[in-house]
C-alpha cells in the first residue's frame, strides 16, 4: 500500500513538474482510464527528458476519457473498454491497444497463501451471483481438495464506480456462465446481486484486505503491490494457471487483433494452455482528423516511442507490453490519422 502510494505521489509530482515547464515545448494532453495512469505518467517523464515534449494525462476514468475525446477537449482519450467500430466511425476516431494488464480474483482467507487457492469461471460466477455463500462449499472444495477451508461466510467485494476492470471481469463471467449472462450481464457497472461496493481498484484492494472472508477482483498490479492473496484460475483449456507476465502475454498473443474493427478485442477467456482467462488491454482513442495536427502528430510519436522504449518500464510496474506483431499492425493503422491536406501524421 505504502509503496504504491509513494510511487503514485512521486509520479504525480513528476507529472506536475513536467506539466509546469512545458509551456514553451509542444504539449499534448490526454484523459481517461485510471488503470494505465502510472505507466503513462512514467513514460511521459522519461519522454520529457529525452525530447523536451510533455504529456499531461488526467486519469479521470474510461467513461470520462471517451466523453472528453468525443468533445475534442484533449489530444487523445484512453479507455479500458474498447469502443465498437460503429461508434468509432460515428465519432471520427481511431483506436488501438497500448498496454495489457491482468485482472485477478483476490481473497482474504486465514491460512490460505497467495496463489494457492484455485477457482474456475463457473465457481467465480456462482460466488458473485450469491449462490455460493460459504468458503467450505463443495464446488470450492472440489477444486482444492488439499486446502483447509473453514465454514466462513463469503463477503463479495465489487466496484461501486463504473470501471473498465468491471467491464472485463463481467465480460469473462458472461462468457463462462449462462446464468450470469442472463441475470447480470456485462458492463462497466452492473446490478450486483450481492456484496459490498468500493471505489476504485485501491478501494476494492483495501476492503478485501480489511474484511475476513472477502473476495474481490483487481488489476494485477494492485494485487501485487498490496500483497493480496490472489487465486489461480482454470482457463478455457482446463489448465490451472497463475497470474503472471507469461500468462497475460499468452492471452494477448492468442487474440485475433483486427485493425479494421478498431482492434476491438476483449482478452477474456482466450484459448491457449498458458493463457490467463481474465486479461485486459487498455486502449487509446485519437481523432482521425485532429484539430491540432501538431499535438496529434506528437501524440503518435510519443506512443511510437513508448512501443519501442517503454517495455521495461511497463514490466517494472506490472504491465505487459503489446506483442511485437500487434505493434506492427497498430503502426500501420496510424496511416488513418490525417492532417487537413490529407497527409498522414504518423511518424
Amino acid at each position: 500500500m505504502r509503496s504504491k502510494f509513494l510511487t503514485r505521489a512521486v509520479l504525480t509530482a513528476a507529472g506536475l513538474a513536467v506539466w509546469a515547464n512545458v509551456a514553451s515545448a509542444l504539449d499534448i494532453s490526454g484523459a481517461g482510464a485510471t488503470f494505465p495512469y502510472p505507466i503513462y505518467a512514467k513514460w511521459a517523464e522519461t519522454y520529457k527528458k529525452e525530447t523536451g515534449n510533455g504529456l499531461n494525462y488526467q486519469s479521470i476514468g474510461s467513461g470520462g476519457g471517451v466523453k472528453q475525446i468525443k468533445a475534442r477537449t484533449v489530444t487523445f482519450g484512453a479507455s479500458d473498454q474498447p469502443q465498437k467500430i460503429a461508434d468509432l466511425d460515428a465519432a471520427g476516431l481511431t483506436q488501438w491497444p497500448q498496454v495489457i494488464g491482468g485482472i485477478v480474483p483476490v481473497i482474504n482467507l486465514e491460512g490460505v497463501a497467495p496463489g494457492t487457492l484455485t477457482l474456475d469461471g463457473q465457481t467465480l460466477a456462482r460466488i458473485f451471483l450469491g449462490e455460493i455463500v460459504s468458503w467450505d462449499d463443495a464446488a470450492i472444495k472440489k477444486l482444492n481438495p488439499k486446502a483447509k477451508l473453514a465454514a466462513a461466510p463469503i463477503v463479495v467485494v465489487h466496484r461501486a464506480d463504473g470501471s473498465g476492470t468491471t467491464f472485463n471481469f463481467t465480460n469473462y463471467l458472461s462468457k463462462v456462465s449462462a446464468d450470469w449472462k442472463t441475470k447480470v450481464g456485462e458492463n462497466s457497472a452492473v446490478e450486483w446481486p450481492v456484496g459490498i461496493g468500493a471505489k476504485g481498484n485501491e478501494g476494492v484492494a483495501n476492503n478485501v484486505a480489511n474484511t475476513k472472508g472477502a473476495i474481490g477482483y483487481v488489476e494485477y498490479a494492485y494485487a501485487k503491490q498490496n500483497k493480496l492473496t490472489f487465486t489461480k484460475l482454470v482457463n478455457k483449456e482446463g489448465k490451472v494457471v497463475s497470474p503472471a507476465t507469461e500468462s497475460f502475454q499468452a492471452a494477448a498473443s492468442a487474440a485475433k487483433w483486427e485493425p479494421a474493427a478498431g482492434f476491438y478485442e476483449i482478452l477474456t477467456d482466450e484459448p491457449g494452455a498458458k493463457t490467463w482467462p481474465i486479461t485486459a488491454a487498455t486502449f487509446i482513442l485519437l481523432p482521425k482528423q485532429p484539430q491540432d495536427e501538431a499535438a496529434a502528430g506528437e501524440a503518435l510519436r510519443f506512443f511510437s516511442w513508448a512501443f519501442a522504449n517503454g517495455g521495461k518500464a511497463a514490466e517494472e510496474l506490472d504491465y505487459i507490453p503489446m506483442p511485437k506483431a500487434v505493434v506492427a499492425l497498430i503502426k500501420k493503422s496510424w496511416a488513418d490519422v490525417k492532417g487537413a491536406g490529407g497527409k498522414s501524421l504518423a511518424p
Partner: protein, 345 residues
Amino acid sequence: MTVVAPDGRKSEGAAQVTDLTLAQKIAPTVIVDRARALDRIATIDRIFHQLTRGAAIAVLIILGGVIVSLIHGALPAIQTFGFGFLTSQAWNPVNDNFGAWPAIYGTVVTSMIAMLIAVPVGLGVATFLTELCPHPLRRPIGVAIELLAGIPSIIYGIWGLFVFAPFVQTHVQPALIAGFAGVPLLSSLFAGPPYGIGVLTASFILAIMVLPFIASISRDVFETTPPVLKEAATGIGCTTWEMMRYVVLPYSRAGVIGGVMLGLGRALGETMAVTFVIGNAHKVSPSLLAPGTTISATIANEFTEAVGDLYTSALIELGLILFVITFVVLAIARYMLMRLERMSA
C-alpha cells in the same frame, strides 16, 4: 466675544451673531466641503446598500440556478421513470433501469440511527460540561469536542474502514447476531453474515461526526440560562436532573433544536465517510448489518463513470431528491421553532 465685521472693524457684542451670518461671513468653502462630504457618505451608503442587496439576491439566483439545473438534468429520468423512480429498487446500468428507493432508504435510516445515538450522548456531554464537570476540566473537554468537529470527513472514512469496520466485524456484529438470534423482529434487524461495513457501521460513524455539533451548540445555549433561574430551581430542592429537565432544557430548547437540525443536515449530506463504510450496495435489506447506500454516496461513486444520458440523469434526480429531503427537514425545524416561540409567547 469678538466679532469681525466685513469691513474689518471689530465690534464688541454690537451685532447679533447667528449661524447664518457666521456662515455668510467666514466659510463658503467649508459649507461646500460639508455638502460634498455628506454627498460622499450618502453615495458610499447607497453603494453599500446595493452591494449587500446584490449579495442577498445572488444567493437567491444561485439557489434558483441550482434548482433549475437539477430539474433540467433530471428531466430525462423523470420522464422515463415517473414517480416509480421513488419506490423502485432497481439499479441496473446494463439495461438502464434505475430507482431511488435504496438510496433514499439508506440516507434516511443512517441519519435517523445516527441522531438516535448522537442526540442523547451530545446532550449528556453538554449537561456534564455545564453543570457537573470540575472547572479545570471544562476547557480541555470543550476544546476536544470542538476539535472533533474540525476533523475532515475523509479521515473518519479512512478510520472507519481500516480500524472501526474490522473491529465491528470481529467483535460487535457477531455478538449482535448471537445476542438477538431468537428474538422476533430484532433477529431480522441484526441478521446475516458480519461484513464489518454496512448500514449500522455507517450510522455509528455518522453519530460520531454529528456529536460535536450537538454537544458544543447545546453547551453554548445551556450556558445562556440565567444563573438566577438555576439557583431558584436548586433553592426549591430540585436535583440536577430536575433542573436540567424543567429549567435549562425548556429555556434553551430553540437553540438545542437548532443544533440537532444542524447535525441532521450534516448527517443527511455526508458523503466521503459514508462511502467508505456503508458498502455501496443498491439494496434495501431488513438487516442493519447488511450493506446499503445513500444518495450522496451513490452520486460520488458513480457520477464520473456514468455512461449514457439516462444513467447521468438518474444520478442528478437523486441529487434533486436529496435537495428536497434537506429542504423538508429544514422546513420542519423552522416550523417547530415557530411553534415553540408561539407557545412561550
